[in-house]
């Protein structure tokens, strides 16, 4: 039976708890690994060898466990044996005195050392492959009729020209993801080195994929428009909704250690595209008009392009005390912040989907969101939308909802009644179905 190969390269390469794209790959992987389907296997891409290799699910599961707990985890027995065999192979080619020392160490060691040796062996293999051939590895892991699915950080970890050549020579099918075209459409809102990569990446996606799963209609439109513009062939596109169920326990603790009094919550990395600027200006506007200035809590790490804004937030006496910056917030604290927030805001200039809006509703919180890109798809009629550049509108609506908690409560009741978060099972099923439709 043709195989469905799910690519776990990103999971294996990631060193922190999975978020964003990494989490998507992880959540889908976990469900496929647990599905018990004999036609589903897992693979990884090796950039140095320019080729794909099979990866037992135990490797990715161990990596995910290690990353989520921060603890070193013994790999599953089969993997340990494989790693040990690999290390022994390597040792056999090592000078005798070195061999004796490493062998003694290995016998006393934890699986950590074994894994390190395994990695050394893999690196050795990769280096050898690099020396031997610059052309793509054509080791036929995939067969005609198979389907390769990749949902990860492919612009970093893959060479799509290799994928294209393998696909052309073997005849398997490919499912890829489109998260967003922000670096293509708004290059000025991204780091230059990031923005530069994506036009080529998405052109290669168009050439390599049979199906592209887009995470919103907005991203689907953007992808299709770009592909038409550059003259690449348009693959079939489909929609996949990312899971938005909460994986944290309901909040039980308070937030007094973080913030005092009522507040509006904005959860997002601090970067230019997320448009914290409009909220800062809105508070300044309210202050200048002599109106009550609400407290804003920004939760997120500082990212790119906001140095000047950060300076303003810390030094502007008109609003300095009204904007609280929280970094490295724990999951239970975040849940508590959602629970105690008056409502949330999300003035982003552009999104591929807009998970914070869905999370706000999953927490039962009303959200004031910008009206751009995919955001109206996320919130539907349960969210109020504003022009992200309209400072007056943000000032006026934030002041309105702060002054009218009854209005907020009414909207929260609607959210509780009508918002249905997407379970990750549904996301995984959509991905699997897209692959099954191509299985030869």
């Amino acid at each position: 039976m043709p195989t469905i190969w799910f690519d776990v390269t990103t999971i294996l390469a990631w060193q922190r708890p999975p978020t964003g794209v990494v989490r998507v790959e992880a959540e889908v992987f976990k469900r496929l690994a647990a599905s018990g389907r004999s036609d589903v296997k897992f693979c990884r891409y090796d950039k140095a060898a320019r080729g794909y290799f099979e990866s037992p699910p135990s490797d990715a599961l161990a990596t995910l466990e290690r990353n989520s707990t921060g603890k070193k985890v013994a790999a599953a027995p089969s993997t340990v044996k494989r790693l040990a065999d690999g290390a022994n192979d390597l040792l056999k080619r090592t000078p005798l005195p070195v061999y004796r020392r490493i062998d003694a160490l290995q016998k006393r060691s934890e699986p950590v050392l074994r894994e390190a040796l395994h990695r050394l062996r893999e690196t050795n293999k990769s280096m050898k492959a690099m020396r031997q051939r610059k052309a793509p590895t054509a080791a036929p892991l995939f067969a005609r009729g198979d389907v390769l699915v990749s949902a990860g950080l492919d612009w970093d970890f893959k060479d799509l020209d290799v994928l294209y050549e393998l696909k052309r020579s073997i005849g398997f099918k490919v499912v890829l993801f489109c998260y967003d075209l922000i670096p293509v459409l708004l290059p000025h809102a991204c780091r230059t080195e990031v923005a530069d990569v994506f036009p080529r990446y998405y052109a290669d996606v168009a050439w390599s994929a049979d199906t592209v799963l887009c995470i919103s209609k907005s991203s689907q439109r953007d992808f299709e428009g770009f592909v038409r513009e550059i003259g690449a062939p348009l693959p079939k596109t489909g929609l996949v909704h990312l899971g938005s169920t909460l994986d944290t326990p309901p909040a039980t603790k308070g937030v007094d250690h973080l913030v005092r009094g009522p507040f509006i919550l904005f959860v997002s990395t601090l970067e230019r595209r997320k448009n914290h600027e409009v909220l800062y200006r809105a508070l300044v506007r309210l202050s200048q008009q002599g109106k009550p200035v609400p407290t804003l809590v920004f939760v997120g790490m500082q990212g790119w392009g906001v140095d000047d804004l950060m300076n303003d937030l810390k030094r502007d006496p008109r609003v300095r005390s009204k904007i609280v910056l929280l970094h490295h917030v724990k999951d239970d604290d975040l849940a508590a912040l959602y629970r105690h927030a008056s409502f949330t805001v999300f003035p982003s200039l552009y999104e591929g989907w807009g998970l914070p809006v869905a999370e706000s509703m999953a927490h039962g919180r009303f959200c004031l969101s910008s009206n751009t890109s995919s955001l109206p798809e996320v919130g539907g009629e349960l969210v109020e939308y504003l022009d992200p550049w309209d400072v007056n509108a943000w000032a006026e609506r934030m002041a309105y909802f702060v002054a009218n908690p009854g209005e907020v409560a009414k909207r929260e009741r609607a959210i509780v009644e009508r918002f249905k978060p997407t379970p990750w099972d549904e996301t995984a099923t959509t991905v699997l179905n897209a692959a099954l439709a191509l299985q030869g």
Binding site: K134, A135, Y164, V184, P199, A203, A206
Partner: protein, 402 residues
């Protein structure tokens, strides 16, 4: 018996031909020699325009900033070649140097392009050269081509165009033999007053690739499939490429690329560096810069498709000859096939006169299996210089009555 002597004038050295014009002039020397002539090539060009090793023993250099080469004290845009003829005729020191380089008896002055006509006319006023004949080797109908270049560069070229037109008309009238590269040019040159106009089409030298270089280039190109575009820094070359393929090269599959060889690459690199989809565009281009002949031969051997995106200009194109002789698939504009009318029905030729047609043809070529090379028949070998210029020496002998 004394061999008749031809002095061949150009505005570029021809010791190491790289551009089309240089190749043609060098081939003319060979054709004259093969026809029993003695040839003295002399090039006149602005100081520093060429590398020292390229400069021939008789070549002369002139300063571009000397007002004697200007028109009414004004330096005209895009007119270095026009200035060459003016300065040589006006500057006694350089003119004397020229005279010293000439044999005592010259049967014919061959003007390859009309630029040095003022100096040749001054030479013919000297008693030694009164009876020397003039051959005008036209490579293009120059005035409209110059107009197009000025327009592309956004400069007011009215006076330059007027000067060019006047020179080429005068060359037609004064020459006793005029060489045209294509049928349409032949008609235009007759209309300008050319008396004995013969066809001497552009051609090429047969080349063969060194296998080890072909392998090396294959590695360098990471085994990608290759379409080849060769061009000089002549502005219409880059403009034609951009006209044919536009600002986004995503129509090219990831395992394919366009190799850009020659100095046109500098202009295309500059252009595509500033396009919105720079990373995509540069991933689909492989810009080599100027190449040694053997490297170019290796790339020609690797090329699955030759590209001739030439949308303007008269004359005929040496690159077209090379493409046809190769037997490889060609995607070409009608303009690039001017002078090659007998080859327009070749099965491997796709004529594309619009961007959509060019892109579609190239994409189709890359999506299909590589096509075999067509057999090199007599129709193709007719494109070799030795055949295209075979009538030049006999025609001049007739003029000379030798």
């Amino acid at each position: 018996m004394r061999s008749p002597v031809v002095v061949l004038f150009t505005t570029y050295p021809i010791t190491q031909p790289r551009s089309g014009g240089q190749s043609r002039a060098a081939a003319l020397v060979e054709a004259y020699v093969a026809g029993g002539f003695e040839v003295v090539p002399i090039a006149v060009f602005e100081t520093g325009a060429f590398r020292r090793q390229e400069v021939g023993p008789n070549d002369l250099q002139f300063p571009l900033d000397d007002a004697r080469s200007f028109a009414d004290g004004v330096k005209l845009p895009q007119s270095n070649d026009v200035q060459a003829g003016r300065f040589l005729a006006a500057d006694d020191t350089l003119f004397k140097k020229l005279v010293k380089r000439l044999p005592k008896r010259v049967d014919a002055f061959h003007l390859e392009q009309p630029w040095l006509l003022p100096a040749v006319e001054r030479l013919r006023a000297l008693p030694a050269f009164t009876s020397s004949r003039i051959v005008y080797g036209s490579q293009n109908i120059e005035a409209p081509l110059r107009a197009a270049i000025c327009q592309q560069l956004g400069v007011d070229g009215a006076k330059t165009i007027e000067a060019v037109k006047s020179l080429e008309t005068a060359a037609c009238r004064v020459a006793e033999l005029t060489l045209a590269v294509s049928e349409s040019d032949e008609q235009a040159l007759v209309a300008m007053g050319g008396r004995r106009v013969i066809r001497a089409a552009n051609g090429i030298h047969a080349s063969s690739a060194v296998p080890s270089l072909v392998t090396a280039w294959k590695e360098r190109l990471r085994h990608r499939r290759v379409a080849l575009f060769v061009g000089s820094a002549h502005p219409p070359n880059a403009a034609g490429f951009i006209e044919a393929f536009g600002e986004a090269l995503g129509f090219l599959p990831p395992d394919c690329c366009i190799v850009v060889a020659g100095r046109v690459g500098v202009r295309l690199q500059e252009h595509y560096e500033t396009t919105r989809y720079k990373s995509l565009n540069l991933s689909r281009l492989f810009i080599t810069g100027e190449l040694a002949q053997e490297d170019l031969s290796a790339l020609k051997a690797l090329a699955e498709v030759y590209l001739l995106p030439i949308f303007e200009g008269g004359g005929s194109n040496i690159k077209t000859s090379e493409a046809i002789l190769s037997g490889r698939p060609i995607i070409a504009t009608s303009v690039s096939l001017r002078g090659f009318e007998r080859h327009t029905r070749l099965p491997e030729l796709t004529i594309a006169d619009t961007r959509a047609a060019f892109i579609e043809a190239l994409r189709a070529a890359f999506l299909g299996a590589p096509r075999p090379t067509a057999p090199i028949d007599a129709d193709r070998t007719a494109l070799l210089w030795k055949n295209t210029l075979a009538n030049v020496a006999p025609a001049l002998r007739q003029v000379l009555g030798a």
